[in-house]
Amino acid sequence: MFFNSLKFAVFLPIVFIFYWFFPNKSKKNQNLILILASYYFYSCWDWRFLFLLIFSTFLDYYTAIKIEENEKKSIRKFWLWLSISINLGLLAVFKYYDFFAVSATEFISGFGFHVEPVLLKLILPVGISFYTFHGLSYIIDVYYKRIKTEKNFIDYSLFVSYFPLLVAGPIERATHLLPQLKVKREFDFEKAKEGIYQIVWGLVKKVVIADTCALYANEIFDNYTTMNSMSLILGAVYFAFQIYGDFSGYSDIALGTSKLFGIDLLKNFDYPYFSRDIAEFWRRWHISLSSWFRDYVYIPLGGSKGSKLFQLRNVMVIFLLSGFWHGANWTFIVWGFLNAVYFIPLLLLNKNRNNMGEFKLSFNLNSLKIISNIAFTFAITCLAWIFFRANTIHQAVDYIYRIFTNHIYSFQYLHIGRSVEKLIVFLVIFTLIEWNNRNKIEPISGKYSWIKLALAITAILTLGIFSDYKNFIYFQF
């Protein structure tokens, strides 16, 4: 059940009605309704994996209690590592086993031995990377006594399985979400209205921006050997907008949906393409994942303490892990590596926290510098996205090589029956809307909200792509 499907448009109001109009509106009933709805939502993909989700939930629920019960460090550590091993083990089997098997046999055949890899060819359970990380954050927080264990299994299950965030995040923290699930939610009109605006804007980003960009980007990437430099450059830019529209659109719908139930989720995007350097980009892109790696990997490794060499190692580790988290392919690892390479000079020059605050533009040299920094950051981000989108490293390298060697900058006519430049104006308008509203969550609220809402709905209906429901990119992770 996709957020942009008719099925979800029926599912959401039904859950909303049950949630707010159930005769005994206790916290317990509210959570029970949400957990049932979440399990139904998840089983719409593949009901068999529901058991995996419940198992993972039970595992973390039980091991957390065991950690808290014991004061002895070695026993606490045992339960912690048991949970981590099983969680990561499941992730490894379902997501990474085949990748490791193929990589190992390729490595062995490099020495002249021929070995056939034994592949499991398992279907990746939707959302496994997300709910595994939910559970891990909880168990680690309990171990470090940052939070108390959750004894109520329904409340804990809801923390892991809450349907708006279940399949593609944001990756929630127990410290943020659980306290909200422990109290009865009262309906808040303003919050619900905000939620509606966010859902509508999320849909604009997904069905209008991302899916339209996907048409062009897919055509260009799939036929990159026949494309000229201009098309290849635009292909990378279109993919950058596609992945942004797709993932931030999904997050907006998730956050908006959750607001309808009176629950706030963590912000996942903060206009990342207006970042002035790559460090700022990573503070604004997939914030819940970046902060997860910061808190549970980077800081435990020593973070920014210690020698520069030590810091470099830590940065490299989290970027490579972040890349690997996205998928079992070398392309994602190179994508992570490339981002680390972009980040390291800032770290070495102590400039990684330079662009923390807001900025305003006016007619002066400083503004010109800001604009050129934003453009440069966007350009290097697009370059890294080529690795993210390509099927193999060879394809990505060849794609980039052709950008710089083809030297033909005319606008090509694509097989989809459109000229390659047709999307530029469309994306400029979208960028201007986002720029003008970068201090808000979405651009619909505020003055003339009814007119803006009508325009957004018209854009969804007329410019949106509904011919076949396009999957969200991050569902595969």
Partner: protein, 292 residues
């Protein structure tokens, strides 16, 4: 909560108003323009007289040159549409007859389209703007699963079919005509092929509802029905010639031209001849059926 329900109610009314307004606007544009596709052409003209009408898919659209027939005094138009399946072709003929087209002869491309009884989304979409005003289109599509949504949910048919989406509306408003109309509906293909091949291993001819409907309509309206199978490149004919033999068993009345032109130099791709091939085939068919 009351306030929110009222608010949602207002939004739903807003959505409905937008959908109705857009539906009215799009339908008006499609009903008041012509020249964007052959469906529009059929629906915006009446009382046409033809000695010969050509129907079928791109294989017919690219293979029959009306000027060759016209030069012999046979008034011809190629109404074949790229991507069209026999289901849409049958509807095109029904609309022609309803619009009082007088047709003496009808050439129908029947070969690969017997592989399935499926439809073409893009060609079907070209009929959908006229759904509210054409009882024939409504009757033709009344049994498809999406009929209710297409018919009763405003703007639904435009939202889910890109072929009649905003780009097509824009092009219609700008009156961008397609240039095949100047060539009597013929779409010439360039290039000369070499070692062409098309894998037909999964193809098998089946009885086709659309084909039988067309045959029946021709009989009822005294139209000389000429079903024709068209040339394929030689490598494919060597491997899959059997497909055409099986067709003969299903429909013996089909005239077999699949081997009429064999050299790859007459082809643009394996299933589509270039302009030279099209001229060669059109001359052959002209001689066989109209100059005996």
């Amino acid at each position: 909560m009351k306030q929110f329900i009222l608010y949602i109610g207002k939004i739903l009314v807003l959505i409905l108003l937008i959908m109705i307004s857009l539906d009215v606007f799009y339908t008006y544009v499609f009903c008041h323009t012509s020249g964007r596709n052959k469906t529009e052409l059929v629906l915006t003209t009446e009382d046409k007289n033809y000695d010969l009408v050509i129907l079928g898919s791109s294989r017919a659209e690219n293979h029959f040159v009306p000027s060759i027939f016209n030069s012999k005094g046979i008034k011809t138009f190629n109404y074949a549409m790229s991507g069209s399946k026999l289901e849409e072709t049958a509807l095109t003929l029904k609309l022609m007859l309803a619009k009082n087209f007088k047709i003496k002869n009808l050439i129908l491309d029947v070969d690969l389209n017997l592989n399935s009884n499926s439809h073409s989304d893009n060609i079907r979409a070209t009929f959908l703007p006229y759904l509210p005003i054409s009882p024939i289109i409504r009757e033709h599509y009344k049994n498809i699963p999406e009929y209710f949504s297409y018919r009763y949910i405003p703007f639904y048919r435009y939202a889910v079919n890109e072929a009649i989406g905003y780009r097509e509306v824009g092009a219609s408003i700008k009156s961008k005509k397609i240039n095949t109309f100047d060539l009597g509906g013929f779409y010439p293909l360039p290039n000369r092929g070499k070692n062409l091949y098309y894998d037909m291993s999964k193809f098998s001819p089946k009885r086709n509802k659309g084909y039988e409907e067309i045959r029946k309509l021709c009989k009822e309206n005294n139209i000389n029905f000429i079903p024709i199978s068209l040339p394929m490149c030689q490598n494919t004919m060597k491997d899959f010639g059997n497909y055409f033999q099986e067709m003969k068993k299903l429909y013996p009345e089909i005239h077999h031209y699949e081997n009429a032109v064999v050299d790859d130099k007459y082809f643009s791709s394996c299933g589509h001849m270039n302009v030279e091939g099209a001229k060669k085939l059109s001359t052959l068919v002209l001689n066989d059926f109209f100059e005996k």
